[in-house]
Symmetry: C2
Subunit: 260 residues, 2 copies
């Protein structure tokens, strides 16, 4: 956990002498180089990842000075980052008392899926109406095929967790990209910003359920390709809804009946 470091470092130069990547010259990093321009951005990325990976406890306080020391920057970019992460829903803020890692109780977590269903449903419909790019279609087909191979084995091995997550990500992002609605993207990102106990860590053991979920992927993709907007929307909504139900079962199965 160390932020990239642009601009301004009148310090002891730091133990590990950070190499100042700055912004790439004109020739390096041709495609999506973008890199990080601002310390605040860099810190935001670092903290987001740390929180998503569970490096902080759920309700843990995030003290500015402490983080500043750990990341070897001043409080200023830390504050900016925390403010931003608050907007992203990862962090909570109480006016004169600072920031803490947000903890969604079970109900709020479940409620998230209602929003995802509505928004991803909309995304699927828009994608179907606009029509998906040939290149993207090819990517989707490849991803679907990779998914099929996971299930062809007839059982799951531990490496399949990441594989399925990847397939899932490719497909959903292809739909979103085709929908071409930046605001929709931003809002869904907030829904995804849920550390650990998100999809990836709970649901990947139930072979039968997972296979049905992948069947959904096939049908959604088909509907999008056929430009069947209403059908794509319905399928996507049902797809997400089934995740919600499955997750609720898992949660209620694991924790007796309280907030996790």
């Amino acid at each position: 956990m160390t932020p990239a470091s642009p601009r301004h470092s009148p310090r002891t130069a730091g133990a590990a002498a950070r190499p100042r990547p700055k912004r790439g010259g004109s020739e390096r990093d041709p495609g999506r180089g973008a890199a990080v321009v601002t310390l605040a951005q860099s810190v935001t990325d670092t903290l987001r990842q740390a929180i998503m990976e569970g490096q902080f406890q759920p309700n843990e306080r995030l003290q500015e000075e402490l983080l500043a020391e750990r990341l070897e920057v001043s409080r200023t970019p830390i504050r900016a980052a925390l403010h931003g992460l608050t907007a992203e829903g990862l962090v909570e803020y109480v006016p004169n008392r600072g920031y803490s890692v947000r903890r969604l109780d079970a109900d709020r977590l479940i409620a998230t899926f209602d929003i995802r269903a509505a928004l991803e449903g909309l995304g699927a419909r828009l994608a179907a109406e606009r029509g998906m790019d040939e290149a993207l279609q090819a990517q989707c087909r490849a991803a679907l095929h990779r998914g099929d191979r996971i299930f062809a084995k007839g059982k799951l091995i531990s490496a399949d967790r990441d594989r399925f997550a990847e397939v899932n990500a490719v497909l959903h992002e292809a739909v979103l990209q085709t929908a071409d609605n930046p605001m929709l993207n931003d809002m869904l990102r907030v829904c995804y910003n849920i550390p650990i106990f998100s999809d990836r860590n709970v649901l990947w053991r139930d072979f039968g359920w997972l296979r049905r979920s992948h069947d959904d992927h096939h049908r959604i993709f088909e509907a999008v390709c056929r430009r069947e907007g209403a059908r794509a929307e319905l399928l996507m909504r049902e797809h997400v809804h089934s995740v919600k139900l499955h997750m609720r079962e898992q949660i209620e199965g694991a924790a007796p009946a309280g907030r996790a």
Copy 2:
């Protein structure tokens, strides 16, 4: 446009000697006093209102020092406020070049309504499923009645603009409150954060259309009260969709074929 002023003012005391409301004593402001605790918050509110009221031009740059002078605070709370408004979608940010008032082109504006339709539809369904509070139901009925009286005259006068906006706001907020999903609220707020040319300023002349829109309100309310979730969702979606269509007509009617 002047922010409330808590804490810390080692300045010339300001021309108008701000009276330091601080946080209300224990007895004053009994109910929802909350007031503003932080300069940054206060500045955020001030700027949000100013932008929404059109006090800044669409694409206008928002220079930190300038605003700081105008609001008689330092750049620090200004920066925090701008950062926050960026998350709310009112302001745009480019890393080393600062903030500017966001301008939605016609397409993006229209696209907003797709999201509103999906989210408000969800809200209506959740409200129907949860059931609306008696007190809220009464408020809604009163609002519906106020709306009816607007149309009973058979024509619109200019004061009806604000009246209808108020009725509309009460009803939609009642639904959202009943839906009881904070994330849904936040996301819809982003959709509403569109200066001027939002509903209120364009559509309020067409008597027939407006009356149909208010009929929708009646039916949506009825569906929610009867706990008919699916119907409430469909009606709300159609309701918002009709706003989208009407707005598109208005825009295309007004501006020939460019970005407004």
